[in-house]
Amino acid sequence: MKNYDMPIFAALIALLLVAPLAVYPVFLMKVLCFALFALAFNLLVGYVGLLSFGHAMFFGFSAYISAYTVKSWGWNPEFGILAGTAVAALLGLVAGAIAIRRQGIYFAMVTLALAQMVFFFCLQAPFTGGEDGIQGVPRRALFGILDIRSDMNFYYVVLAIFAAGFLIIYRTIHSPFGQVLKAIRENEPRAISLGYKVDQYKLLAFVLSAGLTGLAGSTKAIVFQLASLTDVTWQMSGEAVLMTLVGGMGTVFGPMVGAAIIITMQNYLAGFGEYVLVIQGVIFVITVLLFRRGVVGEIAALGARLARPREETVTSPATATH
């Protein structure tokens, strides 16, 4: 089976390079941040089989860290973003160490409970600005030289961050470590019986996922010059689940397609007010009932079906021997 992932990714980046000529760059940056969020979430649910329902804690908390360090401590944005990422990874280490002791629904519930704790912490802690959040985060020059006050300039920085995040995730999935993750997803007891200490693998995957989610969250804070409670709510964790399922869980490109669909809907259907949520709910139900593999998953399955006749002639001598 030939792998077209990298050509597709190159084409996608080429498209995104010219996209701001046609589309509002702030909207594109929002899509990219959420796409990275969903990709990081998918690393855990799609490749380790761990459904976290608390990823907003990494997304939202990292946004606070990057917004606070940049605004109150006067850090450069690159350090703010790195700080947010590091803190999210650290939070991931703690949350992961607790959550991976349980499986399935219990794992999801533990992550949700921890995320709620982080939410209330953010609501109460003085540095987050409570209901107001941290507003007016300055967009200081990147590395002290690159002016990012213009959305057009900053868009390319965000695109670079997104591409880097994607490549880290892609490499992780296609690494020796990723092979073990897939083995754990497929059959955990068997992976143990082959001598793998699966908890350590799960924890590292959790930390990577949390850190990359933090990268997305802290970048978003600089984009919107704002960190607020919205990003730490459990609804935000739900959005990651929704984007990943709609796009295709366990596929390389699915989460970003899902993110693009959901964010586009939220933006262009904003006229419907609260009904956007109802529309989202309907789409979610339809996806789960009819297109369980998600948009990208269904396309891939279709491609595999079309390629089938050729493949069968290759494998038939082998299957005929028994």
Partner: protein, 262 residues
Amino acid sequence: MDQDVAIETYDLVRDFKGFRAVDQVNLKVKRGTIHALIGPNGAGKTTCFNLITKFLAPTSGRIHLNGQDITRLAPASVARLGLVRSFQISATFPHLTLLENVRIALQRQLGTSFHFWRSETTLDQLNDRALAILHDVGLAGTESLVAAELPYGRKRVLEIATTLALEPEVMLLDEPMAGMGREDIGRISQLIRKAAKSRTVLMVEHNLSVVADLSDTITVLARGRVIAEGPYATVSQNPQVIEAYMGTTDPESAPAFRGAHG
């Protein structure tokens, strides 16, 4: 310590909420032999098995592997000491290819299993060995198939191939013949016999003709206790064993012991 003993258990006990599944089992598996654990349903065979492989913790008692106490070790650690198990429901990685299935077992020794920044092409150096192992068990030419596409019997063969890739000193097989057709039974028996030439095998098995055919020693469990031990010829004549299986000591039933499962 006895040099000839691979696994030894001392007064192994496991309780499940007041029910004693395994009751003071003293098992001695001699190195280089095929040892079968048999007994009627609910006799505690699988529990015993899970205790030895550390997938369950014993309520009391000790387990030694090559004279080393492994009672408190984690299952993954036990596997690293060379005691590798199979499962009742054939345990493959269904959406990975056959080659990848075997390679998972091989890749741990590279020491790069946590390296998420490395390309998976670094695992290609293991391909030759994985292919050789697949060839040995008669799965040559199917390495790029996904495990889920294999018929049941072949999955079991793949599972044994994956286990053999670790070159375990002791192999524990949990009902290797469960759900197998006649033809598969022959193939897997051969495979086990071949694998056992250089290692110790402990297996739980229901198919008594397979047990009679393969094992050097048989331990019979009933209600969590060992009721008989020895070669098949002795064990099959033991009145307690016949009673456990047939519910009667009537000597007329003795031949049925062989017939019922064979």
